[in-house]
């Protein structure tokens, strides 16, 4: 049996691997603009063209009069991937799971426990579908857009422009906004369903104000006026609550959009400056960022769902 070296490779293979990677890195460095500015143009034929990141998504084609942007196609691919993947995983479920089923079960099990930890046993069960859907969509969309082909395949659209065929859905501000609105609607719906009309007193609490008005009319002027100030404060806090819901939608949108777009531009610039190997650590970073953003988006939705359905004073 051959002697095991590091990382499951024997020693000579490892040395060869490191040498090849080092050579790739040096050739990449010398052929990129960073190396060229330091050592001059050595005539290596491996340079890349300067990337031109575009903020608005480009329209690929029109469907029934609606413009279909490349980010929409990216979203469709994510949805199709998730549906097909779920079908393949759950087609032949076994009591003792295979490798694929095991991975997916542990991911969903972890998410389920996370929901139950934050929201409690009963509400965790209720919120899990919403949170898991958002998490899976954001995470898989981020990971799928790291696959080569996303952002590099170009086609000519019916108007005759060169456009990219695919683009990560969350690098277009419309998709994060849609997700944030969906999350907002779910929060309000669950709040209304659990607390009924009382939920709205969070945003418009004029009860104490009218109570003190009644006190003034009944002759208790002093108590009435001090109660009235508290009533005003309650109404003002209600307005602040409503405004902070709006701010939350914007902050959800721009956090996701900013992180995803910045990641994409970072990769483009890294590949442009030093072609080939240099971008590899950034790919790893982007895998992590996709996961963290999905966790934050799903987790914050879960937290706000929990807060919206909590009874006052709980």
């Amino acid at each position: 049996m051959p002697r095991k070296g590091c990382l499951g490779c024997s020693f000579p293979v490892l040395v060869l691997l490191i040498l090849v990677l080092l050579a790739l890195f040096i050739v990449g460095f010398l052929s990129g603009p960073l190396g060229k500015s330091m050592f001059g143009d050595l005539g290596l034929p491996f340079g890349t063209v300067q990337p031109e990141p575009k903020l608005p998504a480009e329209t690929v084609f029109h469907l029934f009069g609606f413009p279909i942007a490349n980010s929409v196609i990216g979203a469709w691919i994510t949805i199709i991937f998730l549906v097909v993947f779920s079908y393949v995983v759950t087609r032949r479920m076994k009591m003792v799971p295979g490798r694929l089923q095991g991975v997916f079960e542990s991911l969903l099990g972890w998410l389920y426990n996370f929901c139950k930890n934050v929201a409690g046993e009963e509400k965790g069960r209720l919120f899990f579908p919403v949170v898991a859907t958002i998490f899976l969509f954001v995470a898989f969309n981020a990971w799928l857009s790291l696959i080569p082909g996303f952002g590099s395949i170009e086609i000519i659209n019916p108007e005759g422009h060169h456009v990219h065929l695919l683009r990560g859905a969350n690098t277009d501000v419309n998709m994060p906004l849609a997700l944030a609105l969906a999350s907002f609607i779910f929060v309000e719906l669950f709040g209304l369903r659990t607390l009924g009309i009382r939920y709205l007193t969070k945003f418009f609490n004029a009860g104490p104000f009218f109570k003190s008005l009644g006190q003034i009319l009944r002759g208790k002027v002093r108590d009435g006026f001090s109660g009235m100030i508290t009533g005003f404060i309650h109404i003002f806090v209600g307005i602040l609550e409503a405004l902070s819901e709006m701010v939350r939608i914007v902050s959800f949108t721009f956090r996701l959009f900013g992180n995803m777009t910045a990641g994409e531009i970072l990769l483009l610039i890294a590949i442009f400056l030093v072609p080939w190997l240099f971008a590899l650590p950034f790919y790893g970073l982007e895998l992590l960022v996709g996961f963290v953003q999905a966790l934050i988006f799903g987790g914050l939705t879960l937290v706000f769902l929990t807060l919206a359905t909590a009874h006052h004073g709980e």
């Binding site: 930890n117 934050v118 602040l240 701010v247 914050l300």
Partner: protein, 74 residues
């Protein structure tokens, strides 16, 4: 439970402060340009934005403060 909730809410503190103050100013500027009351409503928007930021941050920090107080009591 509360640790997760507090940690997740804290991720939004920076965004919340920025967006509420900038949002207040932008809305103030917009209404000012419509009504021609410059610069009154920008200042009102700024003040409202700052109040909203302070209120929001207080709400986000509340779970942490409460849990710390409970710990001290125990």
């Amino acid at each position: 439970m509360s640790r997760w909730v507090a940690a997740l809410r804290l991720t939004g503190v920076g965004f919340f402060i920025g967006i509420s103050i900038v949002g207040g100013v932008v809305v103030g500027l917009w209404v000012d340009s419509k009504l021609g009351t410059s610069p009154v409503l920008v200042i009102v928007g700024l003040i409202l934005g700052v109040i909203l930021a302070v209120y929001g941050v207080y709400q986000m920090l509340l779970p942490l403060l409460v849990s710390k107080r409970n710990k001290e009591k125990n």
